[in-house]
Assembly symmetry: C2
Homo-oligomer: 378 residues x 2
Amino acid sequence: MTGVERDRLARVALGRLAEPGDPRFAGLVAEMGAVELVDSLIGQRDLGGVLVDIEGRVDAVGPERELERAARAGIRFVIPSDEEWPRQLDDLAATEPLQNRCGVPFGLWVKGPLRLDELAHSVAVVGSRSATSYGADVAADLAAVVARAGHPVVSGAAFGIDQAAHRGALAVGGRTVAVLACGVDRAYPMAHKTLLDHLGAEGAVVSEVPMGCSPTRLRFLARNRLIAALTRGTVVVEAAVRSGALNTANWAGRLNRVLLGVPGPVTSAPSQGVHQLIRNGAATLVTSGAEVLELVGGAGDHLVEEPRARTRPRDRLSLRDQQVLDAVPVAHGARADSIARTAGLGLLEVRSALTRLQRAGLVEAGEAGWRLAALAHT
Amino acid sequence: MTGVERDRLARVALGRLAEPGDPRFAGLVAEMGAVELVDSLIGQRDLGGVLVDIEGRVDAVGPERELERAARAGIRFVIPSDEEWPRQLDDLAATEPLQNRCGVPFGLWVKGPLRLDELAHSVAVVGSRSATSYGADVAADLAAVVARAGHPVVSGAAFGIDQAAHRGALAVGGRTVAVLACGVDRAYPMAHKTLLDHLGAEGAVVSEVPMGCSPTRLRFLARNRLIAALTRGTVVVEAAVRSGALNTANWAGRLNRVLLGVPGPVTSAPSQGVHQLIRNGAATLVTSGAEVLELVGGAGDHLVEEPRARTRPRDRLSLRDQQVLDAVPVAHGARADSIARTAGLGLLEVRSALTRLQRAGLVEAGEAGWRLAALAHT
């Protein structure tokens, strides 16, 4: 057996021995390597007090069988020495725990044709499970634009924003990946089984948790760090003040990823968490997929023109005529000599300008004198 | 006649000779004083080429008559040497022109009992004339909170956000001031005559433009600098990408005033300009009157607690019980020994914790084992 395959088996075993993102195990793997760590643990050597936690788990360890079973289900286990390994995950090695989760995963279970090294330019779109239709629509549109530009969209396959993000990317034939808090062979939430099957067939479903495992709060917290670490940037679309999406956002910030937030009505509870992120300077406000691309794309890849108002009739006037137009009263009327005084121009000049402006439909002459026409307001 | 009264008459005269915010006149007043400038101009001395512009205006100059007429209408003319003068306007002396308007006004025509030196802690609430009902409601609520805390609300009496801001302040018996682009004796827009009468009776209506003058585009641009300069901070509630409110915002930034923006749906055109201001870092995102007070109030005057989620049932648990709860599957069921492994705790300990959690309604026991109850999700 090659060293790589021994390493792979040890990492599969670690997935059964440890909870994902357990800071102690992450440290031990970095220190002594997966193979030696597993040998020590199975040999009952207590390292940093973890033995008590794995008691009762050791009987679940059977990595060869587990890999065979996975292969039959079309599931692979990708480890750091594989070419497919997403290098950006290694940034997790240097992080401090957040809610007691941290570290590089031992490996990733993957179901689907998309290779994980395609995620180098991916974008996470995450948010509230109890999204509004506004939030879901914005997430779907934004994910479609990002995916169409060639950036895979990563999310968590949850209700609400996650689902809308995957759906938006799929709608344009884009790449999209779900990172789960349970085994990739399970459907959580159950209502998203079709979506997950679809992602497993066209994109990828990813988890560091072994097959068959249920989602728990701890595993969601661990999963969130993977979404942040796998992607170049995280877009939070709607997130109440206490929301898993804010945990993902927090990880994105710690990992120096781009963190973006989509605002919404201040009266909408699901936008409150996003507004806090923007207000505190943690996230940059974005309003469109194009703005997301500008901020997460390679430098200069996607330059967005700021929305500008369309050209108005007054923009086509000579500067002199604009000056006269600016001096015409908005309401009531004024005589040409009064307008000339206001504009600081000669009377003859002003008279000929007013005639031109009248032909252009910008001013109108009434009994009380010249006044702006409706067109000049637009 | 005292020097102050000669200065006042000269400044009234200047209001007739010059357009508001004309950079040349502002410079000349600063250099030679109002009295000498008016004497020179009436004596036909050309200074910086302004003589051609005042030709035809000189016959309108009659400052004594003008002050008498104003006094009869309950209108006063406040100049920099008056005790009532709002000192913060002097910041305009150091500014470069924006759209060719700048400078300290010669004086301010005021109708209403509110003294201008009460505006040191005032807040401007401005925005789109074509506001949405969302924007108008937010502006009114925000103005009410600001006014109730004792900060006068300044705006422009226009349709939309301006009107809502004045209305919000009036509704709580707060102080509010309209700064106009026309004479304070005129009602623009006409539909706001009642509002303006009300403001003139309870707060103040202010303008640097002489009585009887109509609003023009130039005068709106000049007026916007006054709104920004008079106040401690400007809140932009809704503003399309081309909007007078953004001109006011620009002035607030140049004058180092606090600039705040209220976000809205990214699909709403009237919020686009505000989102740009926040995205570019020009404005800070705010979502409530309390947040406005925190940022424009005196240091520490108004400290806002960030919105937090209410306490959840899990927050009242011991750390040990939380650890067990975190390890209980979200869906499906798990046996106590599996939960013990996930939590990294002993089986007996986990069993007694599960019983406590069940009594608290946080977990439920089914055929397949323990799972989270609905309450634990909240």
